[in-house]
Symmetry: C2
Subunit: 214 residues, 2 copies
């Protein structure tokens, strides 16, 4: 599959781009926010496009067309305020879903966050972030797309272990970003993850095996 | 009908409570956020309950049960940050929709804001507020409820004129809060407004007449 990575310049996004580039089954198109981010990607031989999540859906349709799957891992980040969380993590995510529908891209993998599916389980801090992720996920689930929603625990920068625990609910724990990226890619063709949403932390089972048994 | 007013202590909410109390067709239950807001309402002979939009859906179900319609006009207001906008105007609104569904209350009138239905028409300032109203409205529309969504223009405190312009799109203009309240109440039994959303400003047509011809 040709996979559009939305948020390609983010911390998980960079892992996704590298892993997809080294993958025999897939090719990658990296979507970044700014023109000046294209150069480095193109120099590395990576197909890259500009797409602004605060822009129009039509702009995102253009960035999406010709791909067969989308992995969404963009976020406004901790350095901006809640207003940007609403514009990127919520509105930007839903615009990406609408763009995928318009571009006839059926497969959509969303990188969400642990426990955001049930309000009762939201962590106390950054409640507005939980709201954004919660409704972006619900909107994707209500769309016509073949979705998979990953809800990873606390994100680490250490090297991946290749082993995860994935289930409807798991106790709060951590996971390396490298493993989140690998799980998103492994999910692309794994039918057991179609129309599914699940918590994701480091575990004892190889990623592919864990997804087969979800 | 017995009508639950969510946001009864707000500026439009106060008009709604007074108007419903003076209305022969309807009775009112006022929902307020704090225990200490109950006293004044009860002294005025108004049925009132406490319901926290940042609390659980179950709490809202209790506040809603026994009513036949909900009018939602709560908002975090301009004095709080975008994080509260997400928690009240978005999450609180959608929790109210879920509570109405659980309480088997079919009729739901939402007070939204002008032009929030199309992203292209959102005003530049307070974009996060537009996001909140937009998705609250969309979730209501996707619910099983019999909804009406009013999108009033710039809100004024001057006395109502009793005359409005209501349509899918109207040019930006203003409207007294008193007229927004009256339109919400007039919509309750007007079948032409069922499953409809429309812009609303001061106009030349009597409110009931305008809604009949929408």
């Amino acid at each position: 599959m040709k996979v559009l990575v939305i948020g390609a310049n983010g911390q998980i996004g960079k892992h996704l781009v590298t892993q997809l580039q080294n993958n025999n089954e897939h090719t990658v198109r990296a979507m970044v926010r700014k023109e000046e981010q294209l150069g480095a990607l193109k120099q590395a031989g990576i197909e890259a496009v500009v797409g602004d999540l605060e822009g129009s859906v039509d702009e995102l349709v253009k960035a999406t067309e010709g791909c067969e799957a989308v992995i969404f891992t963009a976020g406004s980040g901790a350095h901006t305020g809640p207003d940007k969380t609403m514009l990127i993590d919520l509105d930007g995510a839903i615009k990406s879903v609408e763009a995928a529908e318009k571009a006839k891209v059926k497969r959509f993998v969303m990188v969400s966050a642990l426990h955001r599916n049930k309000r009762e389980n939201w962590p106390d801090k950054l409640a507005h972030y939980s709201v954004a992720k919660h409704y972006a996920d619900r909107f994707l689930q209500a769309s016509g797309l073949n979705y998979t929603i990953l809800r990873p625990g606390g994100l680490l920068n250490e090297p991946g272990t290749g082993k995860i625990k994935a289930a409807d609910y798991v106790v709060r724990d951590t996971i390396p970003r490298e493993d989140v990226a690998q799980t998103a890619i492994a999910a692309l063709n794994e039918e057991k993850t179609y129309h599914r949403a699940f918590d994701l932390v480091t575990g004892e089972t190889e990623i592919k095996e864990a997804l087969k048994n979800i």
